[in-house]
């Protein structure tokens, strides 16, 4: 799909240019057309020259004569350095300074095998970084207790909800004021948009870290923070830390992939408190395991049961409701902060449960078969019936999985022309077994993995091979990954740097590229949201899309550039970067050297001739040579040079 978008965008830019020129008339148009025709030639020529230069640098290539570092892999179109870069871009969150050499020394194939066996990798540095997030180890029940809803907290403290909210707001504002005074940085002052301060529940802005200025995050206030937002904040910060610092990079990439595949939304009621356990206990243990185990784990997880409403799905004819009416009356957890509706509560007692199709549908459409997976509305209902009784003990106090046979609809069911025999809870497991062993599922999952790791439009032959592996290995993610990585399509020229980084990938890959020391990742979490991907807050069960179309647009691009400038300029709060040390130069040196070094370190020299020429021209700008305009000593603003390089088109792709 990337190709298609590119040519469309290309066409649109050109067309607009033409239209503006239309007054000049046909001659001008014709000239323009000639220019357009010649442009690709010029580009191709430039590219070729570049390629030749590379070959000179690495005498071992072309790789058809396999160089030792990439032995054993079907690499024919990329040279050794490109292949290693490609592996680091796809199987990790991007290379850190020195990573390419490290892999070269170890041998690419050996490095891949190691990444496919995460338990063999020591990850103690990350573990110690994660120590600062106590919530990661807490049970959902404990999280509910420690970081209660405002309603609950107010009741505990004997205050009205309004009093409590006002108090919290005042506390928050005071903390923000103190922090801003301490930082004294008003550079990005008037960014406005602190809309969450209004206290009104907007689905996207309740977090306190969306929409606002990322450079004004309540960092100091954070550790005293007892609000429910803390739970999502810690998860998000840990996600950044894991992506940037884990040595088990492929495992982290896959954990993120599967979370997104089985997406849930932090701002749906009680899911905020169940998200931590969901990721920790349902997703992460199976990220490199059997697909069926993953589906079972998510199906049983209270977070998914709540998110897709299955916990309430029940036989409408079951006479005994009493036991379930108690949790039903505790309203605040359902809809967020809407409060109580006394009038309706009385009516509720008379109301009965019923079948809820939501989980049944998404299980087939998104989690397993895929939207064209050959199921019908009738299958949706039958699957939903099988899962009746899969519920949660008490979402607001004891959010554990619980099978309740009284809610279950009896009788056998017919799913995709297979009879599911009456069997209570086992019916759900039977359905999962059936669905995860359907060829549609194998293809759907293979396609999505290939879409993520290879290209927006993965070659059909590759997907077919991965599909076969999925089937023959009983849905083993590791095996499917192995098939993919050991396929020539993975290493094709066409795949190389063809994926646009998602906002999260951009944020963490830049942090890795500059060897950032992140003490407090919250500002990075906020930047990720601003570039368009609020973590743990993708509302629909589809998760975030994995293609260029979704992430390449004007507003997002601008924010990508601003992020690069903020990070490289040392203005990212809570994060320390030393660009001068990174490029091994001080500010008095020749700007051209600084640029060359930045390109070498941040992009491993992998930059188009055009971008390089353009950047060189920019270096003649006097502003770049002065830290301050009134400073007579010529100094290179290293932060700006590196910020430009991080903002280059080449860095937007992996």
């Amino acid at each position: 799909m990337a190709g298609r978008i590119s040519h469309k965008q290309f066409a649109s830019a050109e067309r607009r240019r033409w239209r503006r020129n239309s007054v000049v008339g046909a001659v001008a148009c014709f000239l323009a057309a000639l220019l357009i025709l010649s442009a690709p030639f010029a580009a191709a020529k430039g590219g070729q020259q570049k390629g030749q230069k590379k070959n000179k640098k690495n005498p071992n290539t072309p790789a058809a004569v396999a160089s030792p570092a990439i032995k054993g892999l079907p690499i024919t179109e990329l040279d050794e350095t490109e292949a290693i870069l490609h592996a680091l871009n796809r199987l990790t969150y991007g290379p850190r300074p020195g990573d390419v050499e490290l892999v070269r020394k170890m041998g690419l194939s050996k490095w891949i095998e190691q990444q496919l066996d995460p338990d063999s990798i020591n990850d103690s540095e990350l573990q110690s970084r994660l120590e600062k997030y106590p919530t990661l180890k807490m049970s959902s029940a404990k999280l509910l207790n420690e970081f209660p809803q405002p309603q609950v907290a107010a009741r505990r403290e004997g205050k009205t909800i309004e009093e409590y909210r006002k108090e919290q707001q005042a506390k928050q504002q005071q903390a923000n004021r103190q922090m801003n005074a301490a930082m004294g940085d008003q550079q990005n002052g008037d960014a406005g948009g602190d809309i969450d301060a209004s206290g009104r529940p907007s689905n996207i802005n309740r977090q306190g870290y969306n929409g606002g200025d990322p450079n004004r995050s309540p960092m100091q206030a954070y550790l005293q923070n007892k609000s429910p937002q803390r739970v999502t904040s810690e998860l998000s910060m840990a996600k950044v830390d894991r992506a940037v610092y884990s040595e088990r990079q492929l495992y982290e990439v896959l954990a993120d992939f599967w979370f997104n595949h089985f997406n849930i939304f932090a701002n749906k009621g009680a899911d905020r408190w169940m998200m931590t356990a969901y990721e920790r206990d349902a997703i992460r243990p199976h990220a490199m395991g059997r697909f069926e185990d993953l589906v079972v784990a998510t199906a049983k997880s209270p977070a998914m049961l709540f998110y897709l409403d299955n916990w309430l799905s029940a036989d409408p004819n079951t006479p005994q409701r009493i036991a379930y009416q108690r949790p039903m009356q505790r309203r605040p957890l359902f809809g967020g902060q809407q409060g109580r509706f006394p009038q309706q509560q009385q009516q509720q007692r008379k109301r009965e449960f019923g079948l809820n199709e939501n989980y049944g549908r998404e299980l087939m459409e998104l989690h397993t078969l895929g939207v064209d997976g050959g199921y019908t509305q009738k299958d949706v209902i039958e699957v939903a019936k099988c899962f009746t009784g899969w519920t949660i003990r008490q979402p607001q106090q004891n959010p554990d999985f619980f099978y309740n046979d009284q809610m279950h609809i009896g009788g056998s069911k017919l799913v995709l022309d297979h009879t599911i025999e009456q069997g209570g809870m086992k019916e759900g497991l039977d359905v999962i077994h059936l669905l995860t062993h359907d060829p549609h599922t194998a293809h759907h999952i293979a396609f999505q993995i290939a879409e993520h790791f290879v290209s927006d439009t993965p070659p059909a032959a590759l997907v077919d091979r991965m599909t076969k592996t999925f089937i023959s290995s009983d849905g083993d993610t590791k095996a499917v990954m192995h098939t993919m990585i050991y396929s020539p399509e993975f290493w094709s020229r066409e795949a190389f740097r063809s994926k646009i980084k998602t906002p999260f990938e951009l944020v963490v890959s830049a942090a890795r590229a500059v060897n950032a020391n992140i003490d407090m990742p919250l500002p990075m979490v906020m930047w990720t949201a601003r570039i368009g991907q609020p973590l743990y807050q993708c509302q629909p069960p589809t998760g975030y899309k994995d293609n260029a179309e979704t992430w390449v647009n004007t507003g997002a691009l601008l924010n990508r550039l601003n992020y690069s400038l903020t990070l490289a300029g040392g203005r990212m709060r809570g994060t320390h970067v030393d660009m001068a040390q990174l490029v091994g130069m001080d500010a008095t040196q020749d700007p051209k050297n600084v640029l060359d070094k930045s390109i070498e370190i941040l992009l491993y020299g992998n930059i188009s001739a055009q971008t390089r020429t353009t950047l060189e021209k920019q270096l003649s700008d006097p502003n770049l040579l002065h830290a301050r305009l009134d400073d007579p000593i010529k100094q290179v603003n290293i932060g700006m040079v590196t910020g430009l390089v991080l903002g280059a088109p080449e860095f937007q792709r992996r």
């Binding site: 290309f10 830019a13 009104r200 309706q344 088109p649």
Partner: protein, 417 residues
């Protein structure tokens, strides 16, 4: 980066295509009036499938009250804030939408009920996809209906702000070859590098203008044009007028910024914004509750926009849509499940308001779609089609809604002529 053979061939292909279409271009350039389009369209998408039957309530249907024992909105004769606000003796709006009922009676708001997509899907994902692409049932469409609309409107004097989405990402509706901008917040739309901002922007600009990465080059060019223009126009200077009071949340901020962008006169012709939270499977609420809160914001925002824009509303149409409606019956959790038809609002001077349009299919069991949902009697494309032709001046509706019978005689006729 070495350019791949595939991209090379594609680009050449485009160039060839460009050559062959040259005469059409010239013709169109000559035909264009040279005036930017004065007519504006604002599209508001309610994501999650809003419950149209509790938004514009058919209180004249006895079956409505039978099917929704705990979430129905009481009939208007009960009066006050706890009942439907009567519109025409049969339909009324949810009490949270009081500001909109005033606009309705002033003739500035029209409603189309039982509108929607003919596709049978009850998947949010598919239904939004179809409604935004404007081609129900066809997944391969790779652009959105509003983008195609822009592709076929005269581009003379067009600015980068012709089509704007208020949000971090371009919605499907605006994806496509016509330039469109997504921005989460007008005030943040600039390169932020302190004193060096101008120079840095120049650096980025040059890099993106020359990159061989065509996707990023197009986006880059648009980005920098837009930044410069917005800086000059400074839309944030426009404060709400006429006592307009926007909701204090993301949606309220977005619709206020649409107003600011329109006032800044930077050539915005279409704007898109969306709101979420409408997927109320559980505890939807009735007169009060989740839906009521969402509607309070929705109505307040639209009414504030109307007030704020004042006389400018003569050139503006606001249209709302949602991927599908919800089940006519409430479910076992005092919510509603995914259904079929829904209601659409149209607001503005060009609208022949004060009327609920569309053939009412009825809520008796035999009239329900698949025995459970409100049936669709007005295709959402004929509503949009009328607005596009009658308001924006779209000539080639078949290109915007391919495969649909775009016969103007089938329009609901809800615009003044």
């Amino acid at each position: 980066m070495q350019i791949s053979r595939r991209i090379f061939i594609k680009n050449s292909g485009i160039a060839m295509l460009g050559l062959s279409t040259l005469p059409t271009f010239l013709q169109r350039a000559v035909a264009a009036t040279g005036m930017p389009n004065k007519k504006k369209l604002v599209v508001l998408f309610q994501r999650g499938a809003a419950d149209g039957l509790n938004i514009v309530v058919p209180f004249g249907e006895t079956n409505y009250y039978k099917m929704r024992p705990s979430i129905a909105i009481p009939e208007p004769r009960r009066g006050g804030e706890l009942a439907v606000i009567d519109l025409d003796g049969f339909f009324g709006v949810h009490p949270s939408l009081a500001p909109l009922s005033e606009l309705f009676h002033k003739g500035q708001l029209a409603i189309v009920h039982a509108a929607g997509s003919p596709d049978t899907t009850r998947s949010h994902f598919d239904a939004q996809d179809y409604m935004e692409s404007g081609t129900p049932g066809v997944k391969s469409t790779d652009d959105g209906w509003l983008n195609r609309t822009m592709q076929f409107l005269p581009e003379e004097n067009a600015t980068p702000f012709r089509a704007v989405a208020l949000g971090p990402n371009l919605p499907r509706t605006l994806l496509g070859s016509a330039p469109a901008i997504a921005m989460p917040d007008v005030k943040q739309f600039q390169v932020m590098a302190g004193a060096g901002s101008q120079m840095i922007q120049g650096g980025f600009e040059a890099m993106y203008a020359q990159t061989v990465d065509t996707a990023l080059r197009g986006t880059g060019t648009e980005t920098f044009e837009a930044i410069d223009m917005l800086k000059k126009a400074n839309p944030s200077q426009f404060q709400p007028e006429n006592g307009a009071d926007y909701p204090k949340n993301r949606y309220g901020q977005s619709i206020q910024q649409v107003a600011q962008l329109l006032k800044a006169n930077i050539g915005m012709e279409v704007a898109f914004l969306d709101t979420g939270g409408w997927d109320n499977h559980v505890n939807e609420g009735g007169v009060q509750g989740q839906l009521a809160n969402l509607l309070r914001d929705l109505g307040q925002g639209l009414a504030a926009f109307y007030k704020d824009m004042g006389d400018r509303m003569e050139d503006i149409v606001v249209v709302t849509m949602s991927e599908f409606g919800r089940t006519a019956h409430e479910n076992g959790n005092r919510g509603t499940d995914h259904g079929h038809a829904n209601c659409m609002f149209l607001m503005g001077g060009p609208v022949k308001g004060g009327k609920v349009y569309g053939k009412w299919p009825g809520l008796s069991n035999e009239h329900l779609y698949e025995g459970r949902d409100l049936a669709v009697t007005t295709d959402f494309r004929s509503v949009l089609g009328e607005v596009l032709t009658g308001h924006l001046g779209t000539k080639n509706l078949n290109a915007v809604f391919p495969g649909f019978d775009n016969d103007s005689r089938k329009f609901p006729r809800l615009l003044k002529t």
